[in-house]
């Protein structure tokens, strides 16, 4: 299977096999919009989130490594001491969790003692947690602050790195999708929202952007020589970049998911609720959503923002293309990544129309290059009309300049 994967990787790389990520962007946007709508709507229908004790405030006791996991014992102990009704759950084999409303110090000690006796364990095996009602809010406030700082910093960084704010904009807008969807999954599945889960959310953002960085870097690389060639359009080259990094994207999310999955497994089945499970769960959801978002939202979004800038180039390429195939007498199928396929095999683009004899062109180029290199400005107007004869000359010239 790895070999098949590798072969697919090669075909994706050459553009022989291409998934129309960019071309079908309207469909993806519609789907993404729908998902966002659902994600926003779910909390309203379901009456909000399953907030953890950190947000509601209260006391929590954990009895670990007990043989007796009868929840009635815990309920009795709490009602004896405080008269409250406690929520007692057997969160994992040998672990019982008791949640109550806020208890005073003495009550806490009494309940802990009662649990120790009731479950027949040593005091060492009973842990208690008390959380004031403002704690969760405090954590979320800090996280919101962190979120804003992070987004501003990263937006600036990406705009600086890619030398265009448009990539930055597309990436950050895509982040919105990731956040809303993850929150939606939490609302839909009734997973407990705890401060640890909120940490997870911020980490997801970093992960999703990390993934986007890699794909966008490839897009940048593919678009770099865009206007120096007449074979492929902006959309095709962008799509090629997404396809070329597809194998990496899949590998990355698998490699990212494997360790997170193992924490999730251990955290929820062997250890019960807690830091490990909460972080892992939000990461697990977020990594999947993040990878999908990069391919289906962020990259198409960038293409959407930039497409107009290259409208002229696209027209020119498409017009030339028809002419070229006609001249060459072939009718290939062009894949979404801009690779012509003739009878299922990739073929090169036929030469550009009005071809000059090759030697002439070469000489011309050389002369042209000489002019650029000579410091005599008078030479330029004399030679320039010649150089303009062939359509792709200026393209080659600029490629030389840059190389």
């Amino acid at each position: 299977m790895a070999a098949g994967f590798a072969k697919a990787g090669n075909q994706l790389y050459t553009g022989e096999r291409a998934y129309p990520f960019i071309q079908k962007s309207k469909l993806w946007f519609a789907l993404a919009g729908l998902i966002v709508l659902i994600s926003v709507a779910i909390p309203f229908f379901r009456g909000g989130f399953n907030l953890g004790i950190e947000f509601t405030g209260g006391s929590e006791f954990t009895v670990s490594q007990t043989e007796d996991t009868d929840i009635a014992i815990g309920e009795d102990v709490v009602s004896e001491v405080t008269g409250q009704e406690a929520t007692v759950t057997n969160v994992a084999p040998g672990t019982v969790r008791v949640q109550t409303e806020e208890l005073s110090d003495t009550e806490t000690l009494d309940v802990a003692e009662g649990l120790t006796e009731g479950y027949g364990v040593t005091a060492e095996q009973v842990s208690s947690t008390f959380i004031g009602p403002v704690w969760g809010e405090h954590v979320s406030d800090q996280m919101m602050l962190g979120l804003v700082i992070f987004i501003v910093l990263v937006a600036l960084y990406m705009a600086f790195y890619f030398r265009t704010w448009k990539m930055s904009l597309a990436a950050i807008a895509g982040l919105g999708f990731v956040v809303v969807t993850t929150v939606g999954v939490y609302a839909a599945t009734d997973f407990e929202v705890t401060p640890s889960a909120i940490i997870g959310f911020l980490t997801i953002l970093s992960y999703a952007l990390y993934d986007t960085m890699v794909v966008f870097d490839k897009i940048r690389e593919n678009l770099d020589p865009l206007e120096r060639q007449q074979d492929q359009t902006f959309t095709e080259r962008t799509n090629l970049a997404v396809n070329q990094t597809l194998v990496r994207s899949v590998n990355t999310s698998v490699v990212g998911i494997l360790p997170v999955g193992s924490i999730l497994f251990i955290g929820s089945w062997l250890l019960g609720a807690g830091t490990l499970r909460d972080i892992a769960l939000s990461l697990f959801v977020g990594i999947i959503v993040g990878t999908v978002a990069t391919i289906f939202v962020q990259a198409p979004l960038y293409a959407l923002i930039r497409r107009r800038d290259f409208a002229e180039h696209t027209e020119e390429v498409l017009a030339l293309r028809e002419e070229r195939f006609e001249l060459a007498g072939i009718t290939p199928v062009i894949t979404a990544s801009g690779t012509p396929l003739q009878d299922g095999r990739p073929v090169p683009f036929p030469p550009l129309p009005e071809p000059e004899p090759e030697e002439d062109e070469l000489e011309e180029e050389d002369q042209w290059q000489l002019v650029i290199q000579s410091s005599d400005p008078a030479a330029v107007p004399v030679e320039a009309p010649d150089a303009d004869d062939s359509g792709d000359d200026s393209g080659i010239g600029s490629s030389r300049e840059s190389s």
């Binding site: 790389y13 553009g15 110090d105 960085m213 120096r228 698998v254 490699v255 683009f349």
Partner: protein, 668 residues
Amino acid sequence: MARARIALTGLLVLLFGMGGLLTYGVQQGQAQWAPLLALDLEGGTQMVLSPQLDEGEGEVDDEQLEQAVEIIRQRVDGTGVSEAEITTQGAQNIVVGMPGTPDEETRELIQASADMEFRPVLQISQDEDYMEELAAQDEELEGTADQDEQAAPEGEDAAAQDGEDAEQQEAAQEEGDSAQPEDFPEPEGEPQDNSDPNWVTQELAADFENHTCSREVSMEERAAADPAEPLIACDPDSGMKYLLGPVDVPGTHIDDADFGMEQTGQGISTGGWAVNLSFDAEGREEFADSSTRLNALEGERNQFAIMLDGQVISAPSMNAPITDGNAQITGNFTEEEARNLSEQLRYGSLPISFEIESEEQISATLGEDQLRMGLLAGVIGLVLTAAYALFQYRALGLVTITSLVVAGLLTWWAIALLGWSEGYRLSLAGIAGLIVSIGLTADSFIVYFERVKDELREGRSLAGAVESGWARARRTILASKAVNIIAAVVLYLVAVGNVRGFAFTLGLTAIIDVILVFLFTHPLMQVLARRKFFAAGKRFSGLSEKELGVDVLYRGRGRFARRDVVYSDPSAVGAATSEEAGEEESSAEDDVTDRATAEERSAERAQERRRRGEHAAADRLEAVPDISEEEWAKMTIAERRRAREQAARKQAEAGPGALEADEEEEAR
């Protein structure tokens, strides 16, 4: 190659450096091999406190929070709890961590506010025993860590004695040298003002004589301290004990305090440090009264004591009545002392009490459980990742695995070293961060390997592909790791609670990852690219034709297509077409020049290589025969393209029979 060796040597130096440093630390008994564990893994209590302020009292600033930490630390240390960790977190929180479960009193001590008071001094004497103890402790502090630990219980004993007054007095009476109330004169009448010696009753005088100093002020003592009554207090740093009158000015009337160089009335700097203190309106009047009274007195009673949290922090004497509310305290301060005193005074202006926002008591059993599970999750994650790497990249996966092992080693040592130098403790969230980072670290290799594969697909030799793939992957890796590091730093700075451990390990591993890719993975690939097993694309090398997925393309027209269809740079397009033509032309041998013979030879070499399966290199040789392999490996992609282009052009010039040759080749 030389650079690869330098990089690998660099990594070795780093590894040995860290390992050696840690070994040294362990031998000195100051460090340990295993990372220090946080409370949620070791068992203990962690409380997050937030300051409580009355309405309109403004915000608590960083300095005041630091002072509060200092005060809480002193209080907790005083109760004999060792290894308590008290730190600030975020802008508004204090986190107290300690082993075991704190009793009621400790909890109250932690939460209580620390009041500042200005009281006039009535009597001063020295606590000889305490001073001896202090001197003894100083000596021990200079000794090794072992002795230091022994010193702690001693202090604890002293504290315990002090806490139980009755017992102590009994003990003192048995020794027969304690002072009795009858030994002291009776006061002559009711005290007239706060400095009146008539405050000193016989009992108080005896108590003062018998009082022993300690660093701890118990909850009862604090509760018993009445601002309208005299008080006995100590300066725990100097061992002086003070008998003080009722409060002249409460600390809340301090407006502000700062410190600077001492200046004379003419504005000339004396070179000493001074603390400047200003009072608010009420404080100004009170301090004016107090200073006028004290200034008229002689000797000890000329002094006033600044008390913070039941202890005397300074007892300056009054030089002049101060009526404008701006006082300057001078003495032989160092800059440090002056800063410290001014900060304490500022803190005193806004006594903060604390509320427990969250408290977590983890039993040692649960901690152990969590540690074991965390490690188990890590091992599973690592094994799964390694297995996937082998599955996807075959022998190259071994590079990933060795890199992960080295990364693990570096991370472990870094955490152990940080535990030694900074007291960093690994928490459960930290372990989660480490496990999550396995995936992120492995991803750097994925980005790199995929790039190398891409370059191979473009027809480069492995050595060339490793170089040019690296040039591109490096950029991407650095750019994307930067995002991770930004996230980790932001998370670390704003986070409260156990988030910090997570952010910390996430950031740490991102940095280690970058170091590793540069100093280990890339050099290792450079070395491996020389091995025949990889360079020839043997089976299971992860780079074989099959594993690259290019098998079909190597044959017939496919090869043609492969070169043409990959458009990383359009200039390659034209080149490849004519290159192909030129290639065939050279084998048609209708040229008799020297160049042709050279080409022939290179073509032969290429054929030979092709037989051995080194397609990429063979293709390259045929296309650009004038350039030696070594030069080729050093060339940039753009340079290579240009070279290919030039070579193709030359060959196109030489023979117009290219098309036929092409067809010939197809027939074959």
